[in-house]
């Protein structure tokens, strides 16, 4: 008989996979077999652990030892030391960057310690491709309760009590949406899951789908019961092949177990789910555009009302919920809406998952209670800004959101509070920027994104974003004129008020929020033809300041065009004829000595 005493929870999320977790798995398997430990030590490939920055990562259960940056070459030593001799391998432990303290257990690492796992409760604990492991963690218990013990009204009531709001960004109460769709007349209704995670810098839904696909299916099936739908679609980006594959496996297994399909759990209720692959259009994250896309048309939004709850997919009543919203549903049903609402602020309940990235030490996926401050997110969990640089802003909400500066970091995470400081909750992307980030360039970046992704249907968005982008590009090129800022503000007002859908209505937010907090940077670009962060190539000199240069030669080694003249103990000089203005030396110089 097998007597597994230890499980190695090896992360197989996208981040760890691309840093080589598959090769680590092969090496570990070989070593475990070679040492005759096959019946005692088991490797479980899990979904995203969340701490992508130090991948590949592995957690040894039951003791909870956390190993980071494992290489295939480490396997022999690791297996011999830890699993044969019982001495965990310190060399691969997490080391806190600031204090240099070694922390062996996952729960003690500050990155994890301040988090609260609800949506991500199964991450790193189960094999997402094995349904039994999900069931062992109370999976599908909520579905059984919803189908056998609850009426549709009971389910909706529980959702309303929970206060769960749409995690896709808009924050509409999920229970209300369901209530409208339940009340809508129509024989056929649909439940849709929005897995078209389009915001750049957001990867929460990807990780949830990859690490816990059954939770999405269970949430959708409960929603189906609440509105009496028998067909559902998961609209997933084609950029997420692993998520699509795991959803396919999960659907097949759930059907096999009678948890999806006809007569689910003998309750007489039928529900089927299909995965629909997107084809690359950011606007399809908008609900009416997404539905058009499933219908096989160009994904263009249409005016509302009628709202999808009355006329959605194929003109039938439809609800659309985001992945994170749906993942929370089973636990609300199982533990009660009151339990869920026990955490959070007055109007924002529960937890929120953020994808923390950019210029921050601990990049990864983070779940925190609503009401936590942004400062806790960036500093306590994120570990602050690395490389001795200074924090400048954290960007929330993607192209619809805004940049929050240092002086607003004590803002609490709450739908309404975040709007007050000029950003939006959004789907959960949180990108930290250090003082080497040019805020005008950032605004230009987001406007370029929006302009490119505007579907072209309504004029304010199509033409307005073009005009705004033109102005921002000129400013970054050093051709900004007096009055540009005012023109941007006037355009922002029109685009925001007159656009048809959320994409256009929020398109100006990145410009407005950077103008609000970093207006002087715009002015420096326009009036002094100077880029304070030294990012815009036309506004820097490509010269070395001899007083700041520490003569280290880092720029010399980094320059791809051999345009830097340097010898030991000499100040570097840039040969402007050879320089290709690639900005590499600016990025590499630790002393900001290139001006």
């Amino acid at each position: 008989m097998n007597k597994i005493r230890t499980q190695l929870m090896l992360c197989g999320g996208t981040g760890c996979e691309s840093t080589g977790s598959e090769r680590v798995r092969e090496a570990l398997t070989r070593e475990i077999e070679g040492q005759g430990l096959k019946d005692e030590v088991e490797i479980v490939v899990t979904g995203c652990n969340g701490f992508c920055a130090v991948g590949p990562v592995m957690v040894v259960q039951p003791e909870g030892i956390f190993y980071q940056k494992i290489k295939p070459e480490d396997a022999a030593e690791l297996v011999e030391e830890h699993f044969l001799k019982g001495r965990p391998l310190k060399r691969l432990f997490y080391k806190e960057p600031a204090s240099k303290n070694i922390i062996p257990r996952m729960d003690d690492i500050p990155f994890f310690a301040s988090q609260m796992f609800r949506a991500m409760r199964n991450k790193g604990l189960i094999d997402p491709e094995v349904i039994d492991e999900y069931i062992a963690r109370d999976g599908y218990f909520a579905l059984a309760k919803a189908l056998n013990e609850m009426t549709a009204d009971d389910i909706i009531e529980e959702m309303l009590v929970s206060g769960l709001r749409g995690r896709g960004g808009a924050g509409f109460p999920a229970g209300m949406k369901w209530k409208f769709a339940k009340g809508a007349e129509g024989e056929k209704k649909y439940v849709l899951c929005n897995a078209d995670e389009g915001d750049p810098g957001a990867f929460m839904d990807r990780s949830l789908l990859e690490s816990d696909p059954h939770a999405v299916l269970e949430g959708m099936t409960i929603a189906a019961k609440a509105i009496n739908a028998h067909k559902g679609y998961i609209y997933c980006r084609s950029e997420y092949p692993l998520a699509i594959r795991r959803l396919g496996i999960a659907i097949a297994q759930a059907k096999d177990y009678g948890l999806l399909g006809e007569d689910i759990l003998g309750s007489g209720f039928d529900f089927d789910i299909e995965v629909y692959q997107g084809a690359g259009a950011f606007v399809c994250g908008e609900e009416t555009a997404l539905m058009r896309s499933i219908e096989g048309k160009r994904g263009m939004p249409r005016p509302r009302p009628p709202f999808p709850a009355h006329k959605g997919l194929w003109e039938k009543p439809t609800i659309l919920n985001n992945v994170e919203t749906l993942v929370n549903v089973p636990q609300i049903i199982l533990n009660g809406g009151k339990w869920y609402a026990g955490v959070g602020t007055e109007k924002s309940k529960g937890t929120k998952v953020f994808a923390l990235s950019g210029d921050v030490s601990n990049i990864g996926l983070v779940e925190i209670p609503m009401g936590t401050t942004l400062r806790t997110l960036v500093y306590d969990i994120g570990g602050g800004v690395p490389n001795k640089r200074k924090f400048k802003a954290v960007q929330l909400g993607g192209p619809s959101g805004g940049c929050v500066p240092e002086e607003r970091l004590d803002t609490r995470i709450d739908y309404e509070e975040i709007v007050k400081v000029g950003a939006i909750m959004g789907s959960g992307g949180a990108i930290v920027m250090d003082d080497h980030t040019c805020m005008v360039d950032m605004a230009r970046y987001f406007m370029d994104f929006i302009q490119d992704e505007s579907c072209g249907k309504c004029t304010p968005c199509r033409e307005g974003t073009r005009q705004m982008l033109d102005i921002l590009e000129e400013i970054c090129l050093g051709k900004g004129k007096a009055g540009d800022i005012e023109r941007l503000e006037a355009l922002a007002h029109v685009v925001g008020k007159a656009s048809l859908c959320g994409l256009g209505q929020t398109a100006s937010n990145p410009v407005l929020s950077t103008l609000r907090y970093f207006r002087e940077e715009y002015e420096a670009h326009i009036e002094e033809k100077r880029c304070p962060a030294k990012v815009c190539p036309n506004l820097v000199k490509f010269e070395v300041d001899p007083d700041l240069c520490k003569r280290c030669g880092i720029c010399y080694k980094a320059c791809p065009a051999n345009a830097i003249i340097w010898e030991k103990k000499q100040v570097a000089v840039i040969d402007k004829d050879k320089c290709i203005k690639c900005m590499t030396c600016y990025a590499k110089c630790p002393f900001d000595s290139i001006i």
Binding site: G55, P200, E239, A279, G280, I294, S357, G358, F449, A587
Partner: protein, 164 residues
């Protein structure tokens, strides 16, 4: 013998037409199947020549304008031929903040291609993609199916030189 009912195109072999006709037969009559049919056909041929789009619209009994409209709306579809290797650079915010722009600049200087273009020798096609969701590795580049993390401007050309 069955007469071939498809157009002639230098980039599409007889075998490919066979696969395409199967894909069309699968999608026929299914509402909303056009995006899936286009995707699978593109996987067979590598891109979507105009003749192929017309063939698909006839097969699915949909107006050519509608199929053409779909094919040009979504960034996943390409109406022009691709290089032997597809280089996808992530232009998501995290990658942008961490310096993908500089890496793209190096590719442009070295191979003479901008985003959306294919090099003259048809070796590389460069595509800018909106966030691959691997922000922990920023800046990220995918060549065919190989993912590369922390692709800074000083590393990017070394990586690409490995491809034939």
């Amino acid at each position: 013998m069955n007469q071939t009912s498809h157009p002639v195109h230098p980039d599409i072999s007889e075998e490919m037409w066979g696969k395409i006709d199967k894909i069309i037969a699968n999608g026929k009559g299914k509402p909303g199947s056009v995006i899936a049919v286009l995707r699978e056909s593109q996987e067979v041929v590598g891109y979507l020549p105009t003749e192929l789009i017309s063939h698909i619209s006839r097969g699915l009994v949909l107006p050519t304008s509608q199929v053409f409209g779909v094919a040009t709306f979504y960034s996943f579809f390409s109406l022009t031929p691709k290089g032997r290797h597809t280089v996808r650079v992530c232009t998501g915010t995290a990658c942008y903040v961490k310096g993908i722009k500089e890496a793209i600049g190096r590719i442009r200087n070295t191979y003479g291609i901008k985003e959306g273009e294919t090099s003259e020798d048809r070796k590389f096609s460069l595509e800018g993609v909106r966030c691959l969701g691997a922000c922990g590795l920023a800046p990220v580049m995918i060549v065919d199916k190989d993912i590369y993390g922390e692709v800074t401007s000083d590393k990017v050309i070394n990586i690409l030189e490995k491809y034939e």
